[in-house]
Symmetry: C2
Subunit: 246 residues, 2 copies
């Protein structure tokens, strides 16, 4: 892991890194040290926007987490930012737009082609990032995953044993295989749902929440659209990680 840049502001150290061609950012509270290592939250992002466009929101989440004594890491998703496009993605997006414009429900195979290549490539990239970050002496081996594409969050929650709690955001398309994978998830979950999310099928989000195998899971639904998550929902998600990572 090559750190290319380091900035210190407001009690947080921000370090840019690159790992196997994947750029990322690590934020740690200044208090983090080898003798007082801090838990780590892997901050997911929506697909397609890119990490630089998401930077202000990621920084806000990192600051919020740092106030509770957590480090936060983000990486550029495959096909986002300056990374090469994923094969077949232009076609999948065109098929999606066509279905939405026609007022049709999005066919399952389009959802699969839109989401699964991203999940299949991003999950091992997150795992490689985690391998590297856990070698830093100031990072404790208590890890949560938060937000982003819910199919990717589900894949990581189901298959990466070092992740011990996950915050999810019901707001993207859900492949059929994700519904099956959800039944194998057993870690504590905190799922946000925006009740009037224009890009989200509410019933599918409720079905996915129901499918998760976790004995401890909380659904928090608020009014408003995809970007209208109220501040108190961020506080509640933070409280969830405090309960499970500290």
């Amino acid at each position: 892991m090559d750190f290319t840049d380091s900035v210190r502001a407001d009690g947080i150290v921000e370090r840019r890194f690159a790992l196997g061609g994947v750029p990322g950012i690590l934020w740690t509270p200044e208090s983090a040290s080898p003798s007082t290592p801090v838990p780590l939250i892997l901050a997911g992002q929506p697909g397609g926007l890119g990490m630089e466009r998401m930077y202000p929101r990621l920084l806000g989440r990192a600051r919020h987490a740092a106030a509770s004594g957590f480090a936060t890491a983000a990486i550029e998703l495959p096909g986002s930012g300056d990374r090469p496009p994923l094969p077949g993605m232009d076609q999948a997006r065109a098929d999606l737009r066509r279905a939405v414009a026609a007022g049709e429900s999005v066919p399952d195979d389009v959802v699969d082609r839109l989401i699964l290549p991203l999940v299949d490539q991003a999950a091992p990239e997150w795992q490689a990032t985690l391998d590297a970050l856990l070698e830093l002496p100031e990072i404790a081996d208590r890890v949560g995953y938060s937000g982003g594409v819910i199919a990717l969050a589900t894949r990581l929650a189901a298959t990466e044993p070092r992740i011990s709690a996950a915050g999810m955001f019901a707001g993207s398309y859900v492949p059929r295989s994700t519904m099956t994978e959800a039944r194998t998830v057993t870690i504590p979950l905190h799922v946000l749902l925006q009740w009037d999310d224009e890009g989200n099928d509410r019933q599918m989000a409720l079905d996915l929440f129901d499918a998760f195998g976790s004995a401890e899971k909380t659904l928090v639904a608020n009014m408003g659209g995809h970007t209208g998550v109220p501040a108190h929902a961020g506080d509640a998600a933070n409280d969830f990680f405090v309960r499970h990572l500290r």
Copy 2:
């Protein structure tokens, strides 16, 4: 309002009262005074159990609220404790048991006969209690309602303008007229749902949440049955009242 008893313990003053034959309890933080009056939370209860059987849980809620600087009041519901039974209630309960034993869904008219007489009598009793409590100089005119029979919570949220925020517990039968009344509710709501509640129709609870007219409403669903509400859900409900009553 006649206060019949007063006990002081753990920083809380507990006073028993009676108003028009309805017994009640008021808990105030010792810090409450005419110069520093405290907001008031009206603590609802499930029907039928009676205030004395509910006392330990009510006291726990009052202590939790007092820690945030709130007073809490509870009153005996019509037909509960030592109060006379509501007319027709034995028949309605027998019809309910018969439907449940037969594995049938409970007919709408049985729900109406079971819930509406309680709501129709309890709502004005809560309002008379509120009239009296708001005359106490240590009680501020910032009032929330929390818990109990959700049809009663909906009636009060819809019709009592002095209640400015309501916490609700989706866990009882919902008359059809309550669904209609819900559309007229506009105050902020915090609705708890136990996902596997054996005495609750999950879809009806979601439909009722959807029906509320409030621009600000949050649904918090947790795993487990009716009595399995996790401690963090109590904290989140408390945070809701802190946001709206302080």
